[in-house]
Structures are given as structure tokens and as C-alpha cells.
Amino acid sequence: MSDVKQEAATVAPTVAVMDQLPDASIQGQSPLFHADLATVAKNGPKTGGVTFKEEALMGQITLRLNAENAEQLKAAEKALGVALPTQPLTSVVKGEVSVRWMSPDEWLIVVPGLKAFEVESALHAELSGHYQVVNISGGWTIFKLSGANVVDVLKKSTIVDVHPSVFPVGKVVSTTFAKSSAIIRRSGESEFELVVRRSFSDYLWLWIQDASREFGLVVEA
């Protein structure tokens, strides 16, 4: 028994991992909590060219590793249940897990909020060598934009080309959005997902309302 204890002590964790969520009795407040989107959705128009929804309280994890290290790629795949996309600007979705290529050595993983710690722990359990796993769930939120005029709103907002010939379903880019930034992924023909920073989310929500006014904006809760 004492040997086992000894063993545990010598492999003191080289990184600090903490489950950051309280128990279910405490409700988290997403970055757009103050906007009371449920009421807006209830009272607002039901048809329009653009539909907005905040995918609130999702789990977001940044993963950094060496994409040329096959062992690390394998370990990440084992932890996530899906292989990391190594083609620039691509993403993969499998079940509840979606992974976005951010940079040659960086991926953004999105999972349901309550799964974040589990996935984070799994990554730590599988990975070895030089890597970084950071839970950033509190720092970001996800906007879903869809509808017939979604491309028109995006063209007012971002400088990247969103034409389907160069921005097919599944493509993901980090870029500017209005005077802030966003990680934009095309999740469907007329559906885009924006991962945005918490502190800018109110500005971006205002911007999207303004830019979609001429098309009519439907808010979904």
C-alpha cells in the first residue's frame, strides 16, 4: 500500500486541472444572459430572413499539440472519439463533439457544457509530451445564425468570402467580425456558427440585430 502512495506522490501533476462547474443547483449565466433572449424570442417576430440563437453554456476547450506527432494525434482521437482535423480551416463533428482547426497546432473543441471537464480529463489522461489543454468555456459563447439572408448579414460583418464555392459546409475561419472577431463555421447551407468572446458578445448581438434589420430577425431561445 505504501508503495502505491509513494508512486502517486512522485507523479505530481505538471498541470493543474480543476472541475470548474458547481453543482446543478447553481445556474450558470451565459454572456447574453442579461439580454433575456427567451422573452425576446417569445415576443419577437416569428418569421424573417435571419434567425439568431445563442447556444449558451457550451463547453469549449482549447487543445494545443504538435500535429506532426502521430502519437499525440492518436491520443487526442482516443480521448475525443474523433480524429483532429489537420487540414487547415476544416472541422469535424461527431455526436456531441465538434472540433475546429484553429492553427497548425491548435484546435477548438466544443462539447455540451457539462461534458467539458470529462473531455478535458480524458485528454490529459491520453496525451503525453508537450501539449496544452485549456478549458475556456466561460470565455466564449456560440451564436447560431441561419436563414435566407444569413449570407447577406455575414457580408456586412466579416471580410472573409462566405460564398459556398470557397466557404463550404464544415469550413471554419477565425477572422474579424464587425469591429470584433469571431470563429465562423458553416454548419449548413444557410446556417453558420459563430464562436465569440464573452466580453464582446453584447456588442456583437447589437451588431447582428442592426445588420439584420432590413431582412427581419427571428430570435430563438
Binding site: A12, P13, T14, V15, A16, M18, D19, Q20, L21, P22, D23, S25, I26, Q27, G28, Q29, S30, P31, F33, H34, L57, T62, R64, D105, H130, Y131, Q132, V134, N135, I136, S137, G138, G139, W140, K155, K156, T158, I159, V160, D161, H163, S165, V166, A178, K179, S180, R197, R198, S199, F200, D202, Y203, L204, L206, W207, D210, A211, R213, E214
Partner: protein
């Protein structure tokens, strides 16, 4: 009022839709399809403004973007005022309110007119330089008078009620201009599958075909145009932009397009619609099919209303059904302009004569004119015109074959309209925007686009191809070439049949000779808008300005909103003649963006009002709003500045917040601090290289303050970094420096030390951070900790951190202090920040937990002598200047960033400005930040300045002012006097002291 110049039939206007509009307070009527200019001409309005320098009456001379005179002020209300709109480009709508821009106080009778001659003398060429450069103090006065008199338009004094926006476009091909060349180029590219944008400044596509009687493809030109437009509009890969001016062509095929979406409908955009849109376009290829502008000839009094460009007269007749006069004299150097006399004649009005500068013109159009019985005077020119508010007659004289002099006697003809044509100038403005130098072409008698690095093709009149058949051929060729460059396959496009007209050779004439020398002849205008005459250009050349760029600046030729559309070539020809050189030798000036004026609304787009700049909020922002916080901008963050209670002044609120914190407990939302998660086995080594102090031995569970320097040794950021685990650190930065610091770390990692195994990820937004500070803070924390965590003095020491659960939420708590008090910085996942914050208030009420903002934070830290990077540092102070040598470890094995820089000669000299505390002798005086220090208050001005105040506050805790400031050699001058002469004349006496005003031993935080 009757439309006395309106024809009974013909044109593209709709006579069944009359529209009333106002011009200079009077009501007029026009028709749907009119421009403001055509409607004014239909009503016989001759004078639409007064000229810039000489205040001469001016009329409409052109029919498009090149119009120099009819620059209008529009707007029915104060809020909808728009200056600098060309009447020739403004479509008429019912209720349009317009006024002339120039002409003060009225266009018909004005004071400047009476002073006209004086005005002229006052403003010779070079007038900007001669008059305004000296004396400088008079500039403002002159500027007011001249601006008012010259009338450059005015902006509204009220908020614009309309919405504008910007759209980012990406295309395979942008076609600029929808005349025959542009249309067929776009059609070809579109059929080949390219993503095409075609833009034209006019309301209708068709370009020259709109005012032409030609047939295309065996039908009226308009019918062919309509067919092409229909096909383009039906193609989902084509964006068709009418009323859209391509205003700028920038690097790497980036174009800006100004689209006027509702300006033709009403004074204000109908509800919900966007008034103007600014397209920012990145295109793989560009076809410039921008056409050409006809050049007027330069002759005496050629600015009298009634003098027009020949093709403009045809446009008014053929497109708008308006004949702008009764008796026409046409002066031309070419066959093409004969069409104008024919159109005039066919409209049933009198053509007095065609005055052809050539000896023996023979083309088909010449014959057609003669067949109609029109008098053609060859080898002659209109040397000047009579009349002041309208042409009343012309002087015609024979001229030499080279056009250099008058060779015979002068004959007078009666006329109210003089149309002139000196040939056509290709519209090369856009091709010049990217720096391409245009090239003179002797056959075209104009400049053509020169060599370019842009992916640019050209077609039609811009190449000097002035006939429709040629333009169509070139347009198709450009479309096919674009397809090939884009890697798309060629397609079949049939070039429609047109009728060929044989033309005889044109004559190169720009400046018509007079019997008198240019300097004594009646004024011969080159640039109407800037009132530049041939004599003015001659004078400039004689005064030694030989470079055309200098002539331009000296005379103002081609300045401003005009950009030399009508006048530039003529001006160069005049200069060339004086300088006795050819036009290519003289060269041309470069046209700049924008091609025509663009509104500020379109430039601002949606980035105004609440969306002017992003506002960043912390997770507790809602609470701050509900609790009456006043906010301060820190970068883009809105941070609580202070929390006034009802009736409290700012100073009262600060006093209360400071005392509450020092006596019981205060709380600060510190979420805006930059936070960077750093992991990797070399993280420690990396920290040692980017911070000035040592990190090798910082144990897990400990925090350390560090200064970050630039290579020159100067402080640029600071913060506390904590060791979370052996290879895991959390770095904090200043709120404003977060992005810069992360970028700095990445820069060094990626470009200098890629071998170090370390990763950086921003977690600024992820953690909500709240700092409780004050003697009761431990008690409050203990109440909220779940489970068994010891936060007592000995087991949770100063500069320790521990994970614990606060108010039910997992937290990392750092025992660090920026106030000098016992402090705990609680970090929780931001989605739970407000919950924890509110719980702290629930439990903190009994300790009178007091929220404070950035101002109290500043006061509390200044009492302790803690610096704020960016306030007490300005990029010129190193750690020793700050008295912070304790934060530098010179013995680290790696030469950290800033170490070598700090050892430069200038950094180690004596008498550097050093940061010290400043105590005013009168404790009630709070020095203004920025106040300059002197040692000798009796020294004569300029007094030798020896430093300045960087931070200064009233300290309620100490009952006196406290200040931090820089003083030459200050660290060795403790107790010595220093003086601050202020702008109000006071000289404040102060004493140099330690920057630590409160609790120098640090006992308050060690409890």
C-alpha cells in the same frame, strides 16, 4: 412653371409622371427619368452657381460625373443635408429640395460679383500659397470668408436619420462601367461561370447607348441593353449594381463602390431601407470599361452659361427630351461632335453654324450636316463668346492649320448655346489610383492606362476605342481573357451588329487662339470648378513651375471633387505649349480616389452610435449598471469608475469607497485583467526570459509580481504570475495590455525561441475576477468557503494561491494585493461570476462591503506607491527609474529581454528622471497629472523642467494629497523641494518623498 425647353416626344423620360421639385426656393416641374440637371435645363434655368474665385455665373456644361459646375446642396430638412451632389447625377424625385452650393448670397445677384475683379486679383494662381501661408494668424479669417464665398457645401448640423452600411464582396471579376464594352465583358464572364460584379454610376445601364440613336443587333440600342441586363440579373453569380460608382481602385485588386440605394426615391430612405451602401470588393480580375469624357475647348469666356460640352447637349436632347437653348453654334475638332448639331437640328431648333477647326473635314457626319443645310465654317474657331448670364453671341475667326493663331478677321454670330468638342479623354482615373502612370497616345489624342501591376483589363473608350463596334469587340475580348486568366473555359458570345460611321481625322487642338495674347484675352477657362484659366497656367509656368505636378498644386487645377475630369488634358496642353514641349514630355498628374465625392454616412456605415466601438463587459456588468456605477473606458472595456450614492459628488464617493476598504472591506471587479494560461516544460524558462525577475524557483502554489520590458530596457507591462503546477502558470497583464502581451509572447516564441516547449492561451474572458480587500476580507471569505480550506494567516500566506469552493463555485483564490490591505482575488468560471459576486454582497452586508471602481483602485495603490504601467510608465522608464530594482535579477543565466538595453550608456547615466513620491507642502493641493516640475521657481522662462507628475489624488485615508512623479535624480533627493508652476499661474511647492505614503512596512496586508 412651363418646361420651355422640353420636347414633345422622345427621350427616356416618362411624361405621364410629372414631379415637382425645389431649386433655390422656387418650385419647378420635371418628369420621372430626369436628372436634376435635365429638369433644370428643361425649365430654362441658366445659372446654377457662381465660380470659386471670380464669382462668375456658371451653368450646366456636362451631363455626367464630369460636371464641374452644377454641384448642389440637397436636403429638405437640416438632418438630410447632403453637399456636393452633381445635379447631372441626381435623379429627380417628387419633393426634391436643392440649392446651389456656390453663390453667396444669391446666384443671380451677389456681392462677390460686384467685387468680382477684385476677387480675381486677390486670387491669382498660387493663391493658396501666396495668401494663406502668411500670416498664419489670418488663416482662420480668410478661410471663413473664402469658404463661405466659394461655397464648398455644408454638412448637416443634426444627426442623419438614415442607415448606411458596408458590404464586403469577393468576386472573380469586377466590371466597371455598363456601357457596350462593360456589358458584353460581364456577359461573357458570367456565361463562363465567373462570379461577376458589374457596377455603373448611372441609374440605367447602357452608358453611351442611352443617349445614342444607334441601333444594336438590328434593334434600338436600349432593347439590346435590356436583354443583356436581364440575363445578368438572372445569373445568381452576378451582382448587378446600378447607381454605384466605383470610387477607388486600391492595392491587390481592392475596389470601393459607393451605391446610392434610395437617393433617387426620396429625401430620406423609406423605413427600414439602407440609404447608401459601401461595397468593399476584392476581385481576382477587373475590367475597366469606364468610357471617356468629351473635352470642351478652351476659348474666351467659355464659362458663360450656354457653353456646353457637345455630347452633353446630345444627351439632353436624346435621353431627356430637352433642348437647352434656341440657337446653337457647335465648335469641333472632330467628326463625332457633328451629331450634336444634327440632333439639335432634328429637334427643330436652329443651328447657326458648325465651326470646324479643321481645313477640310469630309466624314459621313459632315455630309449629313451639310445635307440638312447646316452652315459648316471650316478652318475656323469660336475665339470668344459674348454675354454674362447667358451666351448672346460668338466671335468666329479663321485660324492657322496648326491652330496656333488667328489668321483673319473676326465675324460675330448670334447664339445662346455653344457646344464644343476637343475630342475625348479616356476615363483613366481608376487605373491611376494604384500608381500606374498613364501614357499619351497621339492617335487618340489622350492618355491611356499605363503599365500596371494590378490584375486589370480594359475595354472600349478607355482604350481610345470610341466607336460602339470596337467597344463591343474589346469588351468581349476582355471577358474572354478574364475567363482564361481565371482558369474558366471560353464561351460563345455573339457581338451584335452595329452601323459603322466613317469619320475623318480629328485635329489636335485644346486651347483656341485669340487675337489678343492669352494674358489679355477674355478669360479662357481650363478648370471650371477651381477657376483655373489658360492665363493662370501660363503664369505658373512663367513663374518657374515646370513640373506638371507643381503647376497643378500652384493653380489648383484638378483639385478637390473635380479631379480634373474635363480640364486636366487641356491644362497640360496649355502648359506644354508655354514650356515648348509635347504633352507626353509634360506628362500628367495622377488622379486620386475618390472618383466622385462619397458621403460620410457611407464611410461610417453601421459603425456609429452604440456600434461606434465595441464595448466589452465583464460577467458582473449588469450588477454594476443596476447599482449606479459610473463607467470609465479602459481599452474597449467599460469598467466601473466609481459607485456614487444618491446625492454624492465623485470625490465624496471616492472618499467613502477608500475609507470603507481600508477600514472594513471593499470589492473590485478585476475581470478585465489580461490572463494567459501558460503550459509546457519550458514555461518557467520562458517566463525568466520575458520578465525582468527570476522565476526558476517559484514553487507551486505561489504568485510573483513581474515587470515586462522591451529590448530597450523600458517597462511596458506588469502583472502577477502564479505557478499553478510545475509546468503550468497563469500570467496576468494590465487590462489594456492583454492582447499586446500575448502577441509579444508568441512573437518571441515563434521567431526567436521556437525550441522552447511552451504554449500560451488567452483566458481573459474565461475567468471572472473579483478582489475583496480590507481588514474584514478574510472573515467574509471564510464564510463563503465550502468545506475545509484554511485561509488563515499562516497557512494561506501573502502571495499564495489555493483552489477552493467559494459560494458553491470552484474557484482559484490568490492572496495578492494592489491596495496594501489584506486582499483575496477570487477567480471563478465567468458564467458563475455574477452568482459569486452577489453571494459576496449577501454575506458582506454586515461588513458594509463596498463596491469600488478604477478611481478608488488608483488612489489606494498610489497611497502604496504601486505603479500603473501605462500611466506611471510611458516607454521611457526602466525598472531602476521606478525604484524597482528589486524586480530585476541581473544574475539570471539567460540575458532576459531588456537586460542589455538597460545597460546602455543613456540608461545608466546619473540624473535620469526617477519616480518618487511628491508631497505638496499645502496638503490640500492636489497637483494636476502632467504638471511639470522645476527646481528653481524663479528661473526665467523657458524654465528648465526636471520631471512631471504621473499620478495624483486626494487621499481620504491620509487626509492629504498624494502624488507620484518623476524628478531628475529624484531617488537621491529625498526631502528636497521641487516646484510645479501651473497654467493658472500658481507655483505649487512640494517635497520629494518615498512613493509609499501608507504603511511603509507592509503590515496591513500581513495579517
Amino acid at each position: 412653371m412651363s418646361q420651355k425647353n422640353r420636347l414633345q416626344s422622345g427621350g427616356r423620360i416618362d411624361r405621364s409622371k410629372p414631379l415637382t421639385f425645389t431649386y433655390n426656393g422656387k418650385q419647378f416641374e420635371g418628369f420621372a427619368g430626369d436628372t436634376l440637371a435635365s429638369a433644370l435645363l428643361a425649365n430654362g434655368v441658366d445659372i446654377i452657381g457662381r465660380s470659386f474665385k471670380y464669382s462668375r455665373p456658371r451653368g450646366i456644361v456636362a451631363a455626367g460625373a464630369e460636371e464641374p459646375n452644377a454641384v448642389m446642396q440637397l436636403g429638405a430638412t437640416e438632418a438630410t443635408q447632403v453637399p456636393n451632389v452633381r445635379a447631372t447625377q441626381q435623379e429627380l424625385f417628387s419633393g426634391l429640395v436643392s440649392g446651389s452650393t456656390n453663390g453667396w448670397p444669391s446666384v443671380d445677384n451677389d456681392i462677390m460679383g460686384l467685387l468680382g475683379k477684385v476677387g480675381g486679383k486677390m486670387m491669382p494662381p498660387g493663391f493658396y500659397y501666396k495668401t494663406f501661408m502668411y500670416p498664419a494668424t489670418m488663416w482662420e479669417t480668410y478661410e471663413k470668408v473664402i469658404r463661405k464665398a466659394a461655397g464648398l457645401g455644408r454638412s448637416p448640423n443634426e444627426y442623419d436619420p438614415d442607415t448606411y452600411d458596408k458590404v464586403n464582396q469577393h468576386a472573380d471579376l469586377v466590371v466597371v462601367g455598363a456601357g457596350p464594352a462593360g456589358l458584353i465583358a460581364a456577359l461573357t464572364a458570367a456565361r463562363g461561370g465567373a462570379r461577376v460584379i458589374i457596377a455603373d454610376e448611372q441609374n440605367e445601364f447602357g452608358g453611351s447607348l442611352l443617349s445614342s440613336k444607334e441601333s444594336v443587333d438590328g434593334k434600338a440600342a436600349g432593347a439590346w441593353v435590356a436583354g443583356v441586363v436581364k440575363e445578368l440579373e438572372a445569373n445568381e453569380n452576378v451582382i448587378v449594381l446600378p447607381r454605384s460608382t466605383v470610387n477607388g481602385y486600391h492595392d491587390h485588386n481592392f475596389l470601393t463602390i459607393h451605391q446610392r440605394m434610395t437617393d433617387h426615391i426620396a429625401d430620406r430612405a423609406p423605413n427600414g431601407q439602407v440609404r447608401q451602401r459601401y461595397h468593399r470588393v476584392r476581385s481576382k480580375w477587373v475590367v475597366l470599361a469606364t468610357g471617356a469624357h468629351e473635352r470642351p475647348l478652351v476659348f474666351g469666356n467659355n464659362d458663360v452659361p450656354g457653353c456646353m460640352v457637345a455630347n452633353a447637349v446630345s444627351t439632353y436632347i436624346n435621353r431627356y427630351g430637352v433642348v437647352p437653348g434656341n440657337e446653337l453654334v457647335l465648335m469641333t475638332t472632330n467628326d463625332n461632335a457633328y451629331r450634336t448639331a444634327i440632333d439639335w437640328h432634328d429637334a427643330g431648333r436652329k443651328v447657326q453654324a458648325i465651326v470646324d477647326t479643321r481645313k477640310n473635314p469630309t466624314g459621313a457626319l459632315v455630309e449629313a450636316a451639310r445635307e440638312r443645310g447646316i452652315t459648316v465654317m471650316t478652318g475656323s474657331a469660336v475665339i470668344d463668346v459674348q454675354g454674362s448670364k447667358r451666351v448672346t453671341g460668338v466671335s468666329v475667326a479663321p485660324i492657322s492649320e496648326d491652330g496656333s493663331k488667328v489668321t483673319g478677321s473676326v465675324k460675330k454670330l448670334s447664339a445662346d448655346t455653344v457646344a464644343s468638342s476637343g475630342g475625348w479623354s479616356p476615363v483613366i482615373h481608376l487605373s491611376c489610383h494604384t500608381g500606374s502612370k498613364p501614357v499619351w497616345n497621339e492617335d487618340v489624342l489622350g492618355f491611356l492606362p499605363g503599365k500596371t501591376v494590378q490584375k486589370q483589363l480594359t475595354a472600349g473608350a478607355i482604350n481610345g476605342t470610341f466607336n460602339t463596334a470596337g467597344a463591343l469587340e474589346e469588351g468581349k475580348k476582355a471577358g474572354l481573357e478574364a475567363l482564361s486568366k481565371l482558369g474558366l473555359s471560353a464561351v460563345e458570345v455573339e457581338v451584335p451588329a452595329t452601323t459603322e460611321v466613317k469619320e475623318s481625322k480629328a485635329m489636335a487642338l485644346f486651347h483656341v487662339p485669340h487675337t489678343k495674347p492669352t494674358s489679355q484675352a477674355p478669360k479662357q477657362f481650363v478648370d471650371y470648378q477651381n477657376d483655373v484659366t489658360a492665363a493662370g497656367i501660363e503664369l505658373a509656368c512663367r513663374e518657374g513651375f515646370e513640373s506638371i505636378e507643381h503647376v497643378k498644386r500652384y493653380t489648383a487645377m484638378g483639385f478637390g471633387t473635380d479631379q480634373g475630369k474635363l480640364g486636366n488634358i487641356n491644362g497640360m496642353a496649355v502648359a506644354a505649349k508655354v514650356l515648348n514641349q509635347t504633352i507626353p514630355q509634360t506628362g500628367t498628374t495622377i488622379f486620386r480616389p475618390n472618383y466622385t465625392p462619397i458621403t460620410f454616412g457611407a464611410i461610417a456605415g453601421r459603425d456609429c452610435g452604440a456600434l461606434f466601438d465595441p464595448e466589452r463587459y465583464s460577467a458582473m456588468h449588469k450588477w454594476h449598471l443596476e447599482n449606479g456605477a459610473k463607467f470609465e473606458d479602459v481599452g474597449q472595456w467599460k469598467r466601473p469608475w466609481y459607485f456614487p450614492k444618491a446625492g454624492e459628488s465623485m470625490q465624496e464617493a471616492l472618499n467613502r469607497e477608500c475609507l470603507a476598504t481600508r477600514e472594513s472591506i471593499g470589492i473590485l471587479d478585476a475581470s478585465t485583467l489580461g490572463k494567459i494560461d501558460i503550459q509546457g516544460k519550458d514555461a518557467r524558462e520562458f517566463l525568466g526570459r520575458v520578465y525582468s525577475n527570476a522565476w526558476a524557483k517559484l514553487p507551486v502554489g505561489k504568485c510573483r509580481y513581474g515587470l515586462m520590458l522591451k529590448e530597450d530596457g523600458m517597462v511596458f507591462d506588469d502583472g502577477v504570475t502564479s505557478c499553478l503546477a510545475e509546468n503550468h502558470f497563469l500570467m496576468t497583464t494590465t487590462s489594456g495590455g492583454a492582447a499586446t502581451v500575448l502577441n509579444w509572447l508568441e512573437f518571441y516564441h515563434q521567431t526567436e525561441w521556437p525550441e522552447l516547449e511552451v504554449y500560451f492561451t488567452s483566458v481573459t474572458d474565461h475567468w471572472a475576477t473579483m478582489t475583496i480587500s480590507g481588514p474584514n476580507s478574510r472573515k467574509l471569505l471564510e464564510e463563503l468557503i465550502d468545506g475545509d480550506v484554511d485561509v488563515s494567516k499562516d497557512s494561506f500566506k501573502f502571495m499564495d494561491w489555493k483552489p477552493m469552493s467559494v459560494a458553491g463555485v470552484p474557484a482559484r483564490v490568490f492572496r495578492i494585493s494592489f491596495t496594501g490591505e489584506l486582499s483575496f482575488e477570487i477567480n471563478v468560471q465567468a458564467n458563475y461570476g455574477l452568482h459569486v459576486w452577489e453571494k459576496l454582497f449577501e454575506h458582506g452586508a454586515k461588513y458594509d462591503l463596498t463596491p469600488y471602481g478604477t478611481e478608488t483602485m488608483h488612489i489606494l495603490r498610489a497611497e502604496k506607491g504601486f505603479i500603473i504601467a501605462g500611466q506611471d510608465t510611458d516607454g521611457s522608464v526602466h525598472p531602476y527609474d521606478l525604484g524597482m530594482g528589486w524586480a530585476v535579477s541581473m544574475n539570471k543565466p539567460f540575458s532576459f529581454i531588456g537586460k542589455r538595453g538597460m545597460q546602455r550608456e543613456d540608461c545608466v547615466r546619473a540624473e535620469r528622471k526617477q519616480m518618487v513620491g511628491i508631497k505638496t507642502i499645502d496638503p490640500n493641493v492636489v497637483l494636476p497629472e502632467g504638471a511639470q516640475a522645476v527646481f528653481d521657481p524663479t528661473a526665467s522662462i523657458p524654465m528648465p523642467m526636471v520631471g512631471h507628475i504621473s499620478s495624483s489624488y486626494w487621499s481620504a485615508c491620509l487626509g492629504r494629497s498624494v502624488a507620484l512623479g518623476f524628478v531628475k535624480g529624484g531617488l537621491d533627493k529625498m526631502g528636497e523641494k521641487v516646484y510645479y508652476p501651473l497654467v493658472d499661474g500658481r507655483i505649487v511647492e512640494a517635497e520629494i518623498c518615498s512613493p509609499i505614503f501608507l504603511d511603509p512596512k507592509g503590515e496591513r496586508q500581513n495579517v
